[in-house]
């Protein structure tokens, strides 16, 4: 069983997201350690991209801050290499097609395998374009994560059948960012996916509070929180690891209530 699948084994997963290099890579490393310590089941690491078209303003700004720090893809790989000395939690990259394509898909996937990255999420690579990336990822046992959206409708079966690792279920229309209300039809979407595959489903986009995360995890297999955590990092900077760690602890406590 892949490390990603293990993250969902016998429990609801909590998946926090952070942008690497915001405010700096040392802080990123410390945040990852704190998230693992406080019970994160899988961690999404964003490799910064200049034009993150699927992101709302909070994560866009984190990308810009990281790039101002001259963070490169190689720096991020090196950071993961160092983290893997002690960090065991499954790690997936979240970035954009051009970051992987320009690095060289083969070189990117093989480096992921070498440093200990378990999967890749590329929000601008839909089912129709995934072979170019997925075929190479398979070679290196890196899971290419599929996304399903509320607008997927007739596409759900096709996507779910080929999904690996977990399925990233987009909660609502639009880009990433906190929302006060999340579409309640998400449960129907999850049910439709479950008819096709037993690959776990984690819901993301718009989830900000521990209560929302718990509610989403209850109707699926896990919840993903990004913007709220990224906002905390922007606020607390080098003191962010402790704050983020506490937030992860709160979410896990809400899960277990």
């Amino acid at each position: 069983m892949s490390r990603i699948r293990e993250a969902f084994e016998g429990k609801k997963a909590f998946i926090p997201f952070i942008t690497c290099g915001d405010p700096d890579l040392d802080t990123t490393k410390e945040i990852v350690r704190q998230m693992e310590k406080n019970g994160a089941d899988l961690i999404e690491l964003g490799i910064p991209f200049s034009d993150p078209t699927a992101e709302g303003p909070v994560i866009q700004e984190a990308n810009i801050r990281a790039l101002k720090n001259k963070i490169t893809t190689d720096d991020v790989f090196q950071m993961v290499r160092e983290l893997r000395n002690d960090v065991k939690v499954p790690l997936v990259f979240m970035t954009y097609a051009n970051v992987v394509f320009t690095y060289g898909i083969e070189k990117f996937a093989s480096t992921c395998a070498e440093v200990g990255i378990d999967g890749i999420i590329l929000p601008d690579v839909p089912y129709e374009e995934k072979a170019e990336f997925d075929d190479v990822c398979k070679k290196y046992n890196v899971d290419f994560i599929s996304m399903i959206a509320p607008t997927s409708e007739n596409r759900i079966d096709m996507i779910a059948k080929e999904a690996r690792g977990f399925i990233y279920v987009v909660s609502s229309l639009g880009v990433t960012g906190e929302r006060s209300n999340i579409n309640t039809e998400i449960g129907t979407l999850i049910d439709r996916i479950r008819k096709v595959t037993d690959v776990p489903c984690a819901i993301g986009f718009g989830i900000s509070t521990p209560e929302q995360a718990k509610a989403m995890a209850e109707i699926s297999d896990g919840a993903i929180v990004g913007s709220t955590i990224v906002r905390m990092i922007a606020k607390y900077q080098k003191d962010a690891p402790e704050e983020v760690g506490n937030f992860v602890k709160e979410v896990k406590a809400a899960y277990n209530k």
């Binding site: 699927a54 320009t102 929000p123 601008d124 089912y127 129709e128 959206a149 607008t151 007739n154 229309l173």
Partner: protein, 396 residues
């Protein structure tokens, strides 16, 4: 050439969020239906002719030709279209298509403001809601067009993310589309973005080369030796080239904005300085660094200030069917002034890039050669900026 599975050679594709996939699939289906629908085509032709002022004239620039002392130069006068640029050809087509699809709201990006004005115009005409995304820097460079769009009833959203120029306006329009798909059509302004946009926009702009061909055969009894057009995303260029692609005797030349020069970082000459990448829904050439971060491009022309190029152009470059030449700000401004004085035609600063190359090429050719230059838009919008470039403190 036709896109196969949404690709032109290795370029094109549909690199967009899953949320948008059904929207582009529906668009493709609707387009494939209506493009062969006689009623749709009758309506569109009537709009283009009676409202858009087509066909546009093919004008023999006698004074310019004689002054340069070489090839005969014809100007394809897209500047005489309603709204003052070629953009209206595409917009009328897409707005009509959107209306047939039951959409009630148009959103669009704009650089110089010409596509925004054209979209706002079509929305006003067809009674649709309209929101235009424009880089904040461009809203300042092109303040008059911002007023024009608002006058036409559109909401203009200044985009402050990234470099606050055209690429960021595209990103923001895409974000808005993922947010609201049901009633909204994204009226993309160039031959770029995910399939089927490069094909749809190309087809709606191909009227330019269809007319050039007919008009040239009527006036000269033969095809031109070269067709020259400016390239940002590349819609007026592909429109000018399309019906000549099979005519191998016709040289196709796209003029890219070199800004302060292709040996500087202040350039937007994508084919000349870029590399293959994936961005804004397509695989094509982009100005980017070794890690795939999109470069902050520069050109005096807001309409050419884009770090990518349409996938069909990328392919025409790869197979050597078209060539892409860089034109600097200085050369474009000289051409802007030259055409104004020589022919009494003030071209858009974008189109001035094509004029500038014609000024270099014509004197090298014999007088029995014929070149066609597409004047994609009129230059009234640029007067204040060019005056400032020349050191005169004029504001709109």
């Amino acid at each position: 050439m036709e896109a196969i599975n949404g690709r032109f050679g290795i370029h094109g594709g549909q690199y967009i969020p899953e949320t948008l996939m059904n929207a582009v699939n529906e668009l493709e289906e609707a387009y494939n239906h209506y493009k062969n629908d006689p009623e749709f085509n009758r309506e569109l032709t009537e709009l283009l002719n009676d409202y858009g002022n087509r066909p546009s004239r093919l004008y023999y620039a006698k004074k310019m030709s004689e002054d340069l002392g070489g090839a005969k130069i014809y100007l394809k006068r897209e500047d005489l279209n309603h709204t003052g640029a070629h953009k209206v050809n595409n917009v009328l087509g897409q707005a009509l298509l959107a209306k047939k699809m039951g959409k009630t709201r148009l959103i669009a990006e704009t650089g110089a403001g010409q596509h925004g004005v054209a979209t706002a115009t079509a929305a006003a005409l067809m009674g649709m809601e309209c929101v235009i995304f424009m880089g904040k820097e461009d809203t300042e460079r092109q303040a008059l067009n911002v007023y024009r769009m608002r006058l036409l009833g559109a909401e203009v959203v200044p985009v402050t993310s990234g470099t606050a120029t055209l690429k960021d306006a595209v990103s923001e329009a895409m974000r808005e589309w993922t947010n609201r798909i049901d009633d909204t059509h994204y009226c993309l302004g160039s031959v770029m973005g995910p399939h089927p946009f490069p094909t749809i926009v190309r087809d709606f702009q191909a009227v330019i080369s269809k007319e050039i061909k007919e008009q040239m055969l009527e006036k000269e009894g033969r095809l031109p030796d070269a067709v020259i057009a400016c390239v940002g995303g590349g819609s007026n260029a592909i429109g000018s080239f399309y019906n000549f692609i099979e005519d191998e005797g016709v040289e196709l030349i796209g003029c890219e904005a070199a800004g302060r020069g292709i040996d500087t970082f202040e350039t937007a000459a994508t084919v000349n300085t870029g590399s293959v990448g994936i961005f804004h829904g397509m695989k094509s050439y982009f100005c980017q660094d070794e890690y795939g971060q999109i470069a902050p491009v520069y050109s005096i022309s807001a309409g050419l200030d884009y770090p990518g190029v349409g996938p069909e152009h990328a392919h025409l470059h790869d197979i050597g069917r078209a060539k892409y030449v860089p034109i600097t700000d200085d050369e474009a401004v000289n051409a802007f002034e030259y055409l104004s004085r020589t022919e009494g035609i003030i071209p858009a600063i974008e189109s001035s890039h094509a004029i500038a190359y014609a000024m270099k090429l014509a004197p090298q050719l014999d007088s029995d050669k014929i070149i066609v230059v597409t004047v994609s838009g009129r230059g009234d919008k640029d007067c204040a900026a060019i005056a400032r470039y020349r050191g005169e403190d004029i504001h709109e």
